[in-house]
């Protein structure tokens, strides 16, 4: 879509767009190019010289069992967070969409966790599930379940999944509710007259009409789970115990910043970039390019 009514002039629009372009080039494009460059190089042990090594960093990366394990872990993490937060949000949105009393109140009370930072979600869940001080964590231990996410990798994973999904439910809820409200009431009415009820009405009428929202949220949630949860995972256990909660984003940080292995970290960055591009392309497809053209 293009506007028909335009203003003349070339200098003014160039000046208007310039600041944004400068920031984009300096802080996005340039670093991205640098990441690609240093992913093809290797520093010697003293950090004094670098040499071009082609795709060696990538072949090393995919030969590294730790990296492959991190990929698998990230896939499990993203799948669980996405499924959990979308599932719960959908149920809540369907309930809040019905004509029940106190609808506005319910909505407000379900929207606010959108504002909670990923790191804060971790802090709040640690306060609940800490094996000694947490209300739930200490209780689990009292009833005889050995709960300690600082020692048990599976429990740590469960905790970061819950904390990450909890925070994302609000976002999904907002979109599902908007999607449900966009469905014309006449269609629902017609289905009701035809005798479609409850679950069947939902599955055959409502869900198909809601699919664009489902696809959209699927991509958004996967991107959220893959990237925005760095803070959640890092704040709970720093990727531990051992490597049990080290997702790919955590590994970029730990390898690049903590272990100062720039080549390996850059190769990981490039792999992640490819991942985001694939997800964005998917989103593009599902949205029918509406946002851009």
């Amino acid at each position: 879509m293009e506007r028909r009514t335009l203003f003349p002039g070339r200098l003014l629009p160039a000046l208007l767009i310039l600041p944004q372009l400068v920031l984009t080039v300096v802080f996005f494009l340039w670093p991205a190019v640098q990441a690609i460059r240093s992913s093809l190089e290797r520093e010697d042990a003293f950090g004094t010289s670098t040499e071009f090594v082609g795709l060696d960093n990538f072949t090393d990366l995919f030969a590294d069992p730790l990296y492959l394990a991190a990929i698998g872990r990230t896939v499990v993490f993203c799948a669980c967070v996405t499924a959990l937060s979308m599932g719960v949000a959908l149920v809540l949105a369907v309930l809040a969409d019905t004509e029940i009393r106190g609808r506005a109140f319910y909505r407000t009370m379900l929207i606010w966790p959108y504002a909670v930072a990923p790191a804060m979600a971790a802090v709040l869940w640690v306060l609940m599930f800490h094996p000694q001080i947490g209300l739930v964590g200490a209780w689990l231990n009292r009833i005889g379940i050995a709960w300690d996410y600082k020692l048990d990798g599976t429990q740590a994973m469960a905790l970061v999944i819950l904390a990450a999904a909890w925070k994302q439910i609000s976002y999904n809820f907002i979109f599902f509710l908007a999607g449900l409200q966009a469905i014309p009431k006449t269609i629902i009415e017609a289905a009701r007259i035809d005798g479609a009820r409850g679950l069947r009405r939902f599955r055959t009428i409502i869900l198909p009409l809601l699919m664009p929202t489902v696809y959209f949220l699927l991509v958004v949630d996967l991107v959220y789970a893959a990237f925005d949860t760095f803070a959640t995972v890092y704040a709970v256990n720093g990727g531990g115990p051992g490597q049990s909660t080290q997702t790919l984003v955590l590994k970029v940080y730990l390898d690049g910043v903590v272990n100062a292995n720039v080549g390996a970290s850059s190769a990981q960055s490039v792999v992640l970039m490819a991942g985001v591009i694939v997800l964005c392309a998917l989103q593009f497809r599902f949205l029918g390019r509406k946002a851009v053209t």
Binding site: G9, L16, V249, S266, V292
Partner: protein, 277 residues
Amino acid sequence: MSRRALNLIPHAVLILAILLFALPIWIAIAGSTQDSAVIARGEVSLVPNLSGLGVYRDVLMDGSAGAGPVWRALLVSAGMALAIAFGKIALSLPSAYAVTFFRFPFRMAAFWLIFLTLMLPVEVRLIPTFQVMSSLDLINSFTGLTIPLIASATATLLFRQTFLAVPDELVEAARIDGAGPLRFLRDILIPVSGANIAALFVILFVYGWNQYLWPLLVATDPKLDTVVISIVKMIGVDTATEWNKVMATAVLALIPPVAVVLLMQRWFVKGLTEGDK
């Protein structure tokens, strides 16, 4: 089951969900007023102890083990969130205006370049961006904390969509009245986009307030700790965590973004759902 009981199920599920959402916050509120030693024994009560409210003054003024005074961290967070929100709006609005209301060479190239940044979240270009900052000597500065997060494809896309929907008659009328492009932008376009700007402000304020990875990397000076960074530092100390202070800080850190979302709820929901689709 009777029809009446059936009607109660949605209420029951929704109330349960609300309670589950609110439980962590309530634990933090109630816990903040209790004695740290009691909490450390795992005996946190869900009833706040009103005489323990002094903890809020303590953390605001003196902080807690592992982090400095919270008033300063709150100030850094607020500054960062406001700078990012206003900065993004101030950059995106003119650039969206330029690509929608003008024809100039490389217009689409410029637009696609901005669009490309959608695909480069800070997490994937972490170390090179840090290197750029360090060659610009912006490490440990407020500028370094905010500027790289200000370029925004989402805001530009949102404004572009709003501007595309402005009726041609409005532009014609303004032109007949002798308004140039800048007058039109200031006196007509910005006022009619008020609701979109408000919605975007909420989203961007929350985004800015909630940053963690970038501040962690670029600002190691404790004076530049945001409140989110501070609290993670507090729970990270190995011995003698002052749990009541951690909880008080958590409450303080949550109030501003939650208040912004709730106060501007109507615009925010509209802007979020219409902007992204």
